[in-house]
Subunit: 528 residues, 2 copies
Amino acid sequence: MATEPVLIGGQWRPARHTSTIQAVEPATGETLPHVYPVSSWDDCDAALTAAAAAASQLERRTPDVIAEFLAGYADRLAAKSEEICSQAHLETALPAKPRLADVELPRTVNQLRLAAAAARDGSWRLATIDTASNIRSCYAAIGPVAVFGPNNFPLAFNGISGGDFAAAIAAGNPVIAKAHPLHPRTSQLMAQEAHEALQSAGLPLGTVQMLYKTSRQDGSRLVGDPRLGAVAFTGSRGGGMALKASADAVGKPIYLEMSSVNPVFFLPGALAERRTDLVNELAGSSLLGAGQFCTCPNLFVVIDGVAAEAFIAELRTQLDSRPIGTLLSGEVLDSLATVVSALQDAGAELVTGGQPAGPPGFHHQNTLLRVSGERFLRAAERLQTEAFGNATLAVVVSGIDEAREVASRLEGSLTGSVYSATDGSDDELYTQIAPILKRRVGRLLNDKMPTGVAVSPAMNHGGPFPATGHPGFTAVGIPASMRRFAMLQCYDNVRSHRLPPWLQDASPNGTMWRSIDGRWSQDSITKV
Amino acid sequence: MATEPVLIGGQWRPARHTSTIQAVEPATGETLPHVYPVSSWDDCDAALTAAAAAASQLERRTPDVIAEFLAGYADRLAAKSEEICSQAHLETALPAKPRLADVELPRTVNQLRLAAAAARDGSWRLATIDTASNIRSCYAAIGPVAVFGPNNFPLAFNGISGGDFAAAIAAGNPVIAKAHPLHPRTSQLMAQEAHEALQSAGLPLGTVQMLYKTSRQDGSRLVGDPRLGAVAFTGSRGGGMALKASADAVGKPIYLEMSSVNPVFFLPGALAERRTDLVNELAGSSLLGAGQFCTCPNLFVVIDGVAAEAFIAELRTQLDSRPIGTLLSGEVLDSLATVVSALQDAGAELVTGGQPAGPPGFHHQNTLLRVSGERFLRAAERLQTEAFGNATLAVVVSGIDEAREVASRLEGSLTGSVYSATDGSDDELYTQIAPILKRRVGRLLNDKMPTGVAVSPAMNHGGPFPATGHPGFTAVGIPASMRRFAMLQCYDNVRSHRLPPWLQDASPNGTMWRSIDGRWSQDSITKV
């Protein structure tokens, strides 16, 4: 079978490749028919050159044209939903409905539309104008962005269609997408739509490019290349750290989303008040997508006692009775089995599950482990190894002091949740835990599981290392996510007609918010 | 003579040191009397522990108290101006007046006052509230910040008093200041005032600590320590990159200001129109502070011809006739002499100067070098070695195409300037150069030398690598500079009374700007 083409320099063209890959259907373990190239450096080099050329051309296009592309692409994805989602289902085993067709594809389309609106509006630039000194600054495109998408969200975080893609394009940058090799055909279907949408909008065709896979070495070289402006990566800690080293060495911004255990604290009053509801919430959240969420609650904390034991027992029953989801790949299964075993080596006891669940396809028993607070504290780092998949660790602490101690030993996570009684009886305990927890997470939740990541301007899908590489940036939530792919540009005494439209006295569109002499305003500057 | 104490954990106490240093008076080359410790790791460790404790305490203080400290400290520095400036003059040879007393100290005081106002106001947090989903986010303190100050601004960029210090404290973080060993007593005098001001304001005394020097190894260890939230460094590329490696390895934000040649393009119409004025501007800017400015114009570009030759000849006359400034240290002198020599090895010719100017003290002749565009392009990297001091390189290009080529080979700089004719006759050439230049600099200037860095909210004192480590951040300009020392914190479904005051429905002070459902507002949220 012929090797599928790559999208480079505005064309679907044969790859210059070193080897090939094929995807596997996770539900059956069978190899899928299409053959995809592992690109050589030649392909990367050609993509970088084309991206640099596209970046210069994009600078001369108005944000409206970029918005038109994003909106047009969104419409095309919506129109092809059925084909894309059924392909994504085949390649990932994620449920076609509701997950892919009713949740993830609409989310993807919504993100692209929000990015289009943000590009048009311009408020994302945080334009700041000091009229007295005629100094004006704003965020502006940073240059070509390489986006490495993860395995677990084939649409909403895909390098060719997801949040990073949308943010990078909306900020005015070309994207080189590294499709995830577990879902190449899904990525290809979407890339075809992106390519068509570029043509409709009249944007440079080099604005969107896609490779399926490179060697690790070429990936690192790509990331360190001077033609690239920034990098976004969602995936494993090992992969992310390797790319980070390459980007850091040449001072290039790289945004990473790597691993996160997303601790959940259940305070005693909450357990007393609504134990069964909480068990249902936790079971649902930890098994969502077979636990393959970046915000999956991999660790929860309860205070030792009858209520905690009842909670764990009920959770065990839930996990035992709920269906076992299919994992994304044999590697995910192997890694999960290895981590479950490593957690036991570090002192955790198995409550239920703990074993691969056998072919056909990739499955692992729904798994619950437990460890005392005291043992946790003796091996805190090892016991925070992310079990990517349907496994969760209960940390049973002796009291609030040990809970505080556990909280203070948590590594950086995307989220941290605290469940407390509605009548205020947990409030004193809450004030003991929350201040410690909130320093260690990007998003603090009350009475809510972390798996929902609303696409809201107030969202933070980020957090301290090692959850990400910098605690000041979010990967979800437009417009803030766009500023990752931007440089700060200042114009000092620059003549008015030479300024970009959004820094001139007249408002470019009547809607853009600008900070003018310390006041946020949508108005034009009027001379006094 | 006794070794001077360090400021650790709220006390002036004897250092646990490995060796000692003494400062040298640059004007005479004579060693100054006081003896300062090179701290061992024990001192660093103690400072980190105290800083972590102070960070927790600071979280429970209101921004008003932090503001009170900053404003009180500013007042104290203003009151001690004479003593501080005469000491800084002794240790740096920078003119006591106007430079230190009339410019740098007032700038320092102003920055601290602006930081106080910004802390009180809160708008720096970019609070973003989505009322429908009850998701609320804002920037918040990141944790203890280590500030490594440079040699060339003993007050306004000093780790104990400068822009990074003010920004880090105003964002709610303790600071561990690494005083520059060239001006220890100046730093000590100011640290005493900071210590007193902390007491007056009732802030934890561990909020401000100071060491004079550590080994390189301990400096790197300090930067990588988990108790530290972020790092700011202003200094040499070598020193910065060593610290960056240590911070990057553990995913800790580090903000660097390293080196910058600050290119200036003189277009033909500008030379024809006002040559002598431009010569005066350039000579003044390149000799300011003996050329020891991060924004010193180290490289300028003119188009070959009679006007360019006349410009260079006039500039030479100016440089020959202007007084020679004293350099900060023997190391600065040696480094300058080495770079001037290296530039010649790389193909530049000496127009004037080029030699050390002899004792007593540290002096180098005002120096002008020149190189053709064609030779520049053959050794572009070597010819951009920063000559820190009173030396400037003229690049004489054959025409606008070569000027574009030179612009496209420029490394990241803090600034780039273009001088053009006032009658518009250079506008076509401007459009050829400016788009290339602006991608490579943090601040684009028209008809203005880069050495003035206004403390304006619209300022960007930053730029692409290697000028800094990330092109999205500025070191000057409150409030933007504060966001370097902040993490993004999101509250998802958090109960109202548990939110920080600035994310609750009621405005905390009536002045703070918040983005509420997409609109910037100073108002409280009113229920509908």
